[in-house]
Amino acid sequence: MPKITLVEAINMAQGWELAHDPDVVLLGEDIGVNGGVFRATAGLQQRFGKLRVQDTPLAEGMIAGMAVGMAAQGMKPVAEIQFMGFLYPAIDQIANHMARLRNRTRGRLTCPVVIRMPHGGGIHAPEHHSESLEVLLCHHAGLRVVCPSSPARAYGLLLAAIRDPDPVIFLEPTRLYRIAKQEVEDDGRALPLDACHTLREGDDVTVVSWGAMTHDTMRAAELLAREKISCEVIDLTSLSPIDHDGILASLSQTGRLVIVHEAARNCGLGAEIAATVAERALYDLHAPIRRVTGYDTVMPYFRLENDYIPSVARIADGIRETVQA
């Protein structure tokens, strides 16, 4: 079995689905001849042709809108937004139409679309290339939002996203694209959507994270293990819907919860998780819930990005304080 990176897994999943489903079409800026700025579609236009792997004109709103029109015809567009900061012009199409078309037409017209995009910072990129805007998408009913944290999960979840009958936003943690390799079999097997995953079992505290932050969270958990603090680390994976039952099951054992995300704290997904725990499991808690997040600032240009992104030390402190509370 080949060992591949996360971006190679994304490429492989798209290749599998293009080969096995003639309705799948890839759309995006520089995805064809150039193979994508991160190489997520490298070689696919050569294999499947210019109509099925399309270099679009430079207009994100158009990309999302054309995906709606194609999907309503029964096609399965998989569109790339080059960087998450360029998502905004597409939000009109995604929120007003893609997410709502099934509901507006009482199920007559549907949108089996996938919108892929890089998520988060940490790669010294230019301005507007490092945002974590998942809540802009999670807030809209009718959209699924997923975020893998490993090559194998990226492969299986992207297949599931493409096969899902509804729109799925697929967030790709930018700084994990090439960070680690993993054996991934190109067998076309999808993973379930809507479920969280336990990355590490533990007794003292449940730590929920997603995307690139799961790696920093795991490092913090390893550090704390030496201090006899046992962390259960959950990769949320599905950002909408949230697998609240999965989190609550862990929390019923640990009684403590820390949520770690790169996005700003204010109205971040951590708030939604914390509120649900407060509603459903307040009496299971031995300590206040704590969030370790990006600050309520603009994502800084790269000279300060590592000050913004929660560091292992910050995460570890947050967990320690929760365990000691």
Partner: protein
């Protein structure tokens, strides 16, 4: 059927690629000092660009968007503008910015990942570089609306690339400007490529200048490698705008002689022979030949200029490399005029987790 409207797209070139005048030059070109000033800045841009790319390659600068090939368009536009006009750049119009007083050190500081590079000491009302493609254009139209309301004899200048002309924001801005005859010039820098997409795959339109026609704005093309022609059409467009005659769309035809950015590898999608052919049309040499033909330039002056440019660039490198990393407070201090109390607490917390400067 009868014809109810007809449109034409004129094209202007003054100097061909050999530096030969192909038609009568404008008045400013009779003054060799004016041409030399533009030539000096074009050369500075070229040397700055080479240095910036080398700094990025050696890990001393972040991703950088080069300007090589665009110098005549950028400098010609800058030379035509007045200081009280307002510039809305994309992200590689250094020639225009430097003409208007942005420093080399500020440009380096920006691409080294530091927003202080957008706090220009010179042109205080000019907008910073704009990464989200096309989004600067409605803002430029808005500035022009402010001049219009206040009856100020000022103009907004919005740059956009060939790829950017596919964005809705570009059409929306032109529509507004056309509807109100706003004092604005739209400068489309058609360098042939939007990263990997050639312009003939970007649009079915024969020219990009004609995109203004539907908004009621005259459009024209200019040889974007001919700084005399660029400055000439730009001066006319600005004069029209200042006189209340409304906007103009200028399509400057040039070529991106570099990769899109240092994160790009154009050899993946662009034929080497196309690039080699484009180098034969590049903007510096033709102006140099023209000046030399009149006895206003020579080898000694060229050598002295290059040495001076290198000195300026090296001094700017020293400034930005000697600038310490901003404190974590910098994330917070410019969010609002008054930082909300809750965010003030975060500013305190951030200091405790300050990371070392790795640059």
């Amino acid at each position: 059927m009868k014809t109810v409207a007809e449109f034409t797209i004129p094209y202007l070139q003054r100097l061909d690629e050999h530096g030969t005048a192909t038609s009568a030059l404008p008045d400013f070109a009779a003054d060799p000092e004016q041409l030399q000033a533009m030539y000096r800045l074009m050369t500075l841009c070229r040397i700055f660009d080479t240095k910036a790319i080398n700094l990025q390659r050696t890990g001393q600068l972040g991703t950088y968007a080069p300007c090589t090939g665009h110098e005549a368009t950028h400098v010609g536009v800058g030379a035509a503008m007045r200081s009280e006009d307002v510039l809305f750049p994309v992200y590689r119009e250094y020639g225009t910015q430097i003409w208007r007083g942005v420093t080399l050190a500020e440009i380096f500081t920006y691409w080294a990942g530091d927003e202080r590079g957008s706090d220009f000491a010179g042109p205080r009302e000019d907008f910073p570089l704009c990464v989200p493609i096309g989004s600067q254009m409605p803002q430029a139209a808005g500035a022009a609306m402010a001049f219009h309301i206040r009856k100020q004899p000022r103009c907004a200048v919005g740059f956009i690339g060939d790829g950017g002309t596919s964005q809705g924001a570009f059409y929306e801005a032109m529509n507004l400007a056309g509807a109100h005859a706003l004092p604005i010039v739209f400068v489309i820098v058609n360098n042939g490529w939007a990263i990997s997409l050639p312009v003939d795959k970007q649009t079915g339109a024969a020219t990009l200048a004609q995109k203004g026609i539907a908004a009621g704005i005259p459009g024209l093309q200019v040889d974007g490698n001919d700084v005399i022609a660029v400055r000439e059409v730009m001066e006319s467009a600005l004069e029209r705008a200042r006189n209340g005659q409304g906007p103009t769309v200028i399509e400057a035809l040039t070529y991106r002689l570099s990769d899109h950015t240092t994160a790009d590898d154009a050899s993946r999608y662009r034929a080497a022979e196309d690039l080699a052919a484009a180098w034969k049309l590049e903007p510096l040499l033709r102006l140099r030949h023209y000046l030399a033909g009149l006895g206003h330039w020579d080898e000694a002056r060229e050598k002295a200029l290059r040495a001076d440019c290198a000195t300026q660039v090296d001094a700017a490198v020293k400034i930005y490399q000697g600038t310490p990393k901003p404190s974590t407070d910098a994330m917070f201090d410019h969010l609002f005029a008054t930082l909300p109390a809750d965010t003030q607490a975060q500013r305190e917390a951030a200091r405790r987790y300050a990371q070392p400067d790795t640059h």
